[in-house]
Every structure is written in structure tokens, then in C-alpha cells.
Point group: C2
Amino acid sequence: MSSLKNSFKIAVLPGDGIGREVMPACLEVIDAAVKVAGAPPMSFETHQAGAQFYAESGEALPASALEACRKADAILFGAMGWPDIRFPDGTEIIPQLDLRMEFGLFAGVRPIRWFPGLPKVLSDPRAEGIDFVLIREQTEGLFYARGRGEIRDDQEAYDTMQITRAGTERVTEFAFQIAAQRKRRGRPGVVTCVDKANVFSSMAFFRKIFDEVAEKHPDVQKDYAYVDALALNMVKKPWALDVLVTENMFGDILSDLAAGLIGGMGMAASADIGEHYGLFQPAHGTAPDIAGKGVANPSAMILSGAMMLDWLAVKHREPKLADAARLIEAAVEHTLSTKTAVPMEYGGGANCADMTRSVIGALGAVR
Amino acid sequence: MSSLKNSFKIAVLPGDGIGREVMPACLEVIDAAVKVAGAPPMSFETHQAGAQFYAESGEALPASALEACRKADAILFGAMGWPDIRFPDGTEIIPQLDLRMEFGLFAGVRPIRWFPGLPKVLSDPRAEGIDFVLIREQTEGLFYARGRGEIRDDQEAYDTMQITRAGTERVTEFAFQIAAQRKRRGRPGVVTCVDKANVFSSMAFFRKIFDEVAEKHPDVQKDYAYVDALALNMVKKPWALDVLVTENMFGDILSDLAAGLIGGMGMAASADIGEHYGLFQPAHGTAPDIAGKGVANPSAMILSGAMMLDWLAVKHREPKLADAARLIEAAVEHTLSTKTAVPMEYGGGANCADMTRSVIGALGAVR
Ligand SMILES: CC(C)[C@H](C(=O)O)[C@@H](O)C(=O)O
Ligand SMILES: CC(C)[C@H](C(=O)O)[C@@H](O)C(=O)O
């Protein structure tokens, strides 16, 4: 049943700002980890895209890069966007949204887990048990309005949120599958539908479809929360959360909030998953304030790389790739918990290269 | 310049669940505080409304109650809504939204301040300096969609967000005025526009109007934040925030999150302010799980009462009402910081009556 593939082709889009710094770190770590795990190697093909490339070339996301992404086994994405570089109509250059639509990357997967070495943001000791996954719908919801907004006579502006049956079915189904897998890891699976069904009919529709999908997963528990109450609960008792599934805009807000609980964007790995494609990127931006100094914390990018290996492992039935993913996670944890390298954002002196070296060094130790 | 009014008529809507428990506590405290401050007395007129009244009478918000609210100097509102009591079409009974529309209560004011005696939710000691105000637009935004949603063939659902020039002008103007007042209290005034202007044209429109209004307030600083980044910052460094102004739905989410930082809904006072009317209510709900037991923490309701006195003081030029408001705040702080009474939600044994007695007892001590 093992994969017949003996190498994987990865389209690499470092993008702008610190995306260009954390990406090489991630590639190095992946290379080292697959070697240690005895997994098939990755071949990386880097493509230019983003705001700075737009300024040079007039294209933010060139067709050749899109084509390469389409042909690759997976996509690694750094960060894109830059202050003052905008399209002629004044809108920002954020190709990540185009890629989600282009490749149907309907599930934004944001794992939120605390481990030793991370800042203790909440004072309650139970916060050490934070371990949940937020699934953000990424192809519709309020983001359906992007490019469709209407402004009337400089007096009124309208944006429309769309919830479809198909879009909600696939993302809630995805969430139940994640919960079922987590259950296998020894925790009870609970999927919470996060909505505002008490006010909006589209959200009541979202919840109705969630219920229909839940019917097919009697092994997984279901729960509901209004998005405002959930935001409060994320601060009050995030350790009680397991799997959350929610609309695009709500997910955008809640996933940043959630990242704040485990030490901010420097740790926020994420995966954008579709039927056929997977794109892996840190949830942070290009950080113009620190870009170019080599001080960015590459952990979120590196952990996003581990998520890619996990996804490839399942898709291509290659358990050794999952081994490599576990090694990477353990090496990041080891680095932070032993304080071998402490990122600057947590008050340490480790820059991007120090962090990378330390994580690679730890791969052997954690094996 | 002092008010000619020698008494104020307050329409009181206790509503459902713990609304009916915390409201009498609030009225008692207000009565005592205006006496101590030598301010004109309040005459309270209680009206039935809400889900339980709907179940008995078929009306959630009777015309007579609305009429009384219209004639009163201010409205005190407990909490409304009850599980399983719904309108025939299945929607929840939430008259608070109708009241906001009916009375044009465009500014939802949610003060967030930590003081000794409140739980330390965040571990950073700077969290003791949390002191900001969130202004939520309350008559349009995504809530414009309420009752207007469209569902097509059980396949697609649409809800539309509306941002108007007039609606945005009045709420941002309100926020700048609040910031200017706070500056007088010795802090630099900064208003942060919280939006998602990078993706939605309605939100870019919101920001544009914010900028226009800011021009008229050169004494107050302005700032911008995307709502996702702001959610993260609320957890990372809420002590840096001053005045936030945002769209209805974003404000709903962020104000609950903010309440979580200072000990939850038990402390979350709020005011719904319009051109002519003011409604004051705790941000918490009816709490069916503890309703009827007399154990609810009345602090949020009591502090909302203090916000009412402050509003009346300005409107009717009666500084003694502001004195009464200060007394109430100080008495609540005194109760919590000296632990004279510790609400059950913070691990103490004080029920609603104990808290009320203690706050009233403290009014003399803090004078
Ligand atoms: C860059 C921005 C448009 C994007 C979003 O809002 O989706 C980002 O915040 C994210 O979470 O990926
Ligand atoms: C009861 C509910 C509809 C309401 C809202 O969403 O506005 C509440 O959450 C609030 O914040 O006042």
C-alpha cells in the first residue's frame, strides 16, 4: 500500500518581506527531516510572485507560477503584500485570496496548541492544555463579496455574504473527519459549529447543513456556539475546545485571536486545503518592520511545512512523510522548550538562521 | 446652568432570566447612590417584555412598553431571550436588536477596564492597565441583513452588509468625542478604526469616512487596524488600546472578547446611545443555567446603571448625577477589591443579594 512516488515536486512561493527569509529556513528543515525519516525527497521549484514582483514585472501572480502550482504535488507559500505597492485601483496585492479561489482551497486549517517554551499568555494553568483546530471556510462567506462590492453615490456601500450548501457541506465534512482522526489520538472528538444563527438566515442555513453532515458522523460529538460567545470562550477556557468550523470572515478573526493565545503569529502554522490541492503557509504577513534583517521567527513557516508533509503522507500513503512531520514538530518543540534558541519576539536573541540551525540540530535528538 | 429637572423617569425592562434578578439590584443601588450624591431621584416604571412575556401574551415588545420607553428620560434593560421560546418562524426573540433600530441607538459603548479584584486573565502584569472603550455601530453593518436574508432553493443563502455615509459619520464622530473626553482625563486620545478595508469595498468606504471625520478632530490621534490583527492585539497588548470604532458584527465579536479580558460578562456594562435615546444594559444574556437561583453577579447591570447616570448628567447638565455614577463605580470596585463580597463566578460565595448589599454599603465608604 506504500506510495510509488519516489520524490515530490513542491511549488515554492516565498513572496514578499519575511516570506523570503522564513521560506529558505523551512526548505532546509524539510530537506533535513525527510532524510532523517528516510522519506522520499522533495524537489523544490521556486517562483516569484507577490507585491514586490508586481512592482518589478506588473504581475502579482504570473500564469507560469500558477501553472507550476497546478502541476506540483503541493504548494509552499511564504507571505505576500507590501505597504504602498497596490493595484492601480488602490486595492492591496493579496494573492493568497486569489489562490484560495483558483485552487478551491476551501478549508483553512489552523492548529492551535500550546507546548513548553511558548509564552504563557493566559494566567490560568489549564492554558497549557490548549489544543484545538480551527477550520475556516475559505471560498465563500463574506469573502464572496471581494471584488463584488457596490458603492452608491458615495452614500451607501453593500457587500454580500454567500453561504452555499455545497460549500458548507464540504467544509463541515472536513471538520468532522479531522475530529474523527483526533479521536483516534485519544481525545473525544467534538466539532463546534461557530455561527450567528440567531440573527442571520445565511448562518441558520450554515448550521442546518452542519446538522445534516453531523448525522453522518455519529461517532463525533457536535456542539454550537455563537461567534461572539465563542470569542469570549476562547479567552475564558480555550482548553475545552476541540475542532471549530466556521464562516470565512469569522474564521479570519478567530484564528488570529487563537494564535494570540499561544504566542502570536510567529507560531501560527496553517494549511489551505482543497479537493485536489494543498497550500501551506504561515498565518503571519510580510512584516515590513522587521523584513530584511533576518530576525523573523521561522517556526510558523517550518510548522506549515510539517503540515504539508502530513497531508502528502495521507494523500500518497507514505507514512515516512508523517514521520518526518512528527520529527519537525518535535524539533521545534525541543528548540523552544530547552531554550536552545529563543526567538526575539519571545525576548531571546535567536534570529532566523539561529532558529533554523537549532531546529535542524534537534532533528537527531528527537528521533 | 444646572438642570431644572427635579426627577427623572426611567423605563425599566427587566426581561427574562437573570435580567429579572440583576435589575432590582441595579435599581436599589441607583436609588441609594443618587441619595448619597444629593442628585435628583429617579422614578422607575417597570414594563414586561421579552421571551417569557411573549409566551404568556403573544407579544415580545408590546406597544405600551415601547411608548413608555419613548417618553422616558432613559431606558434600563436587563436581558431578553429564552431557549425554546421562539417566534412561529423559528427565529429567536431578541428585542434588543429591535430597540436599537426603533430608537436609532447607533453607538454601542462597551467600556473595558481592569481594576483590583477582577480576575487576572492575562499573565502579563501590564494587563492591569487595560482601559479602553469599544464603540460598536449598531444600526447597520452586517446586521442590516436581519430579516432581509435570502435563501434560494435550499442551495444558497445571502445576507447583505450595509455601510452608509450617515451611519458611519455619526458613529465615528461619537468615537472621536469620547476620545476627546478621555484625553481630558489625562490620557492621549487615539481612535482606532477597526475594519477589513483590505478586502471589502464597504469597509474601505467605512475607513474613508472615518478619515473625513478624523480631519475635524486634529486634537485626537487616529489609527487603523484590520479586525483580525486587532483580535490578536487584544490578547497581546490590550493595554495599548484607547478608543475603538467598528462595524456592527465586528463590534459584537470584539466586545465579547474584550469582556473576557476583564473577567467575563459579569462585569460587561454597556450603553446603546442614539441621537435622542439612551438604553443601558449589561452585555450578558439571560443565563438560563443559573436563572431563578439568585446567584447572578449584578455588577454589569449596576455599572450599566452608572453609565445611564453619566449620560443623564451630560444631557441634563446635572453634575450630581455624574457624582452618583462615580460613587457606584467606586463602590463596585471597593466591594471587589476588598473582597467584601466575591461573586460566585470568581470563586466566591456572594449571590446577587450579597453583592447588592455590599455595593450599597460601600457607597458611604467611598464618598
Ligand atoms: C491577507 C488577508 C487578506 C488574509 C485574510 O483575510 O484571509 C489573512 O488575514 C489570512 O488570514 O490569511
Ligand atoms: C443578543 C444578540 C443578538 C446581541 C447581538 O448580537 O447584538 C448580543 O450579542 C449583543 O451583543 O448585544
